[in-house]
Symmetry: C2
Subunit: 282 residues, 2 copies
């Protein structure tokens, strides 16, 4: 499918030749500023765009495509909402717009179509399924937030609760590292660690802290339990008062290596739970 | 311990006040250029510095420390080789040297004290232990290379074989993401996928390709076997000719999520092997 076929699918393509064109202002200098909240967010690349197209909560308000990538992604573009403009530029123009060499060939500007989720809503929704929930505390690193979502979605997590000191997962880099799963996961970002853990317990989840200091090993996991896995930032880890009162789970590893990455830790535990659930028929 | 105690430990500290001082030329504009090979490499932060101090193969040729970090890391510095100069600068000078705001407070310039390892040497050394080996093909992303080393060392991998299209793990960012484990792992980077797989087989390892298309699951792993886990770049994955002839291992996951990160995939499999080895007494 190419541009003509897009036209046959009822989609028009708008050429942008001026980097200052007001229609593409959302894409200006995206390296320097990170859109989130009421200004929407930027999705990069076809993998993230696919999750945006699947999302019930988020939707694209426009896309900006490199001219020479148009034919290869025309099929994807034809499935975008009819009122989502498709802007097309040559490389020199698109690089000026974005403020850096834009390798991925497609950017989308996305918006949240729903009110922010509450913790209770996320937990209620998760309880309707079988997966655990993930509670992330103080994750300020965009790569780690993105990787946590990717792994959470890969292993069927029912919901992700971020405390208000964690970064917004809609930041461009977090979204990219998440391979767009932030857009199809159920999550919220509010409150502190105590609030989130208390809410998970009230909903029927058993909170477990993932920590190198944990007294339990992966073999102690009960796959039939509803678990809320609690992870903290690399470096500081979870606050002492949280570690003191939660069951702690450690991953066996060599003693002379600094701890595992937080998203990797979550992936190892989530994969084990996912396999166990399969075996007990859930 | 502070600067005076460092002096008592027989260590002198050299103040650098001119960013053009020829003694710190190795640290100039490190963001823009990536040292490796005969020019040595740059290690950032105390975690990487600790692995450098532990390394048998690599050693620091000098360190450059932020003045206000000196007292907090003086103890570490006192254990560096006696002929390793300790340069100290104020923030304004160090930022000019490095070419960007230097948050970590300590940089080391490191060198390789040994000839490059051969594939046979790495495999012979690995066979003396119990862990699997890791073969990485076409990993050009510095984060992924670093994360692969971190996970390999955490779960007792005996050696890492990189093909010659993978990036050098001594690149600054790869080294940082590896939390310095590149400096204490046994590894080499040479040859192509076929060479590396053939060498591992000749040494007695059974090669297994980690791939979403794999016909085997984690439960099929035989912890008593000597395994060579083969991973490829994200996106393209392993070449078809490799996938065709190796046993393939997949990780069970949700079908609507783009595959896992390559280092995360390795971590999940390596953790499972590590736990199984523990159980069978190895």
């Amino acid at each position: 499918m190419d541009e003509r076929n897009l036209a046959h699918a009822g989609r028009s393509v708008v050429a942008i030749t001026d980097p200052d064109d007001p229609r593409i202002v959302a894409y200006r200098d995206i390296r320097e500023r990170d859109l989130t909240g009421r200004h929407g967010f930027i999705a990069e690349g076809t993998v993230v765009l696919d999750q945006l197209a699947l999302s019930e909560r988020f939707r694209p308000s426009s896309v900006l495509v490199l001219r020479n990538r148009l034919s290869s992604i025309a099929d994807r573009l034809s499935h975008l909402p009819a009122d989502c403009p498709i802007y097309v530029s040559e490389r020199a123009v698109i690089d000026q717009i974005a403020g850096f060499p834009m390798h991925r060939g497609v950017l989308a500007h996305g918006i949240d179509t729903q009110p922010e989720r509450s913790v209770t809503e996320v937990l209620d929704n998760a309880m309707a399924g079988y997966g655990p929930v993930l509670i992330a505390i103080g994750i300020a690193n965009h790569d780690n937030i993105g990787a946590l979502f990717r792994n959470a979605r890969a292993f069927g997590v029912g919901g992700v609760l971020l405390d208000d000191t964690s970064c917004n997962p809609l930041y461009r880099k977090a979204l990219r590292v998440s391979v767009g799963t932030v857009l199809t996961a159920d999550w919220c970002r509010s409150g502190n660690a105590d609030d989130l853990i208390a809410a998970a317990e009230a909903a029927g989840y058993r909170p477990i802290a993932l920590t190198p200091k944990g007294e339990h090993s992966l073999d102690d996991l009960e796959p039939t339990e509803r678990l809320a896995l609690v992870v903290g930032a690399e470096g500081p880890g979870l606050p002492e008062n949280i570690l003191d009162r939660l069951h702690g789970l450690r991953i066996a590893m060599e003693s002379d290596v600094d701890s595992l990455n937080v998203a990797t830790t979550a992936a190892i535990v989530l994969s084990r739970l996912y396999d166990s659930r399969g075996k007990c028929g859930r």
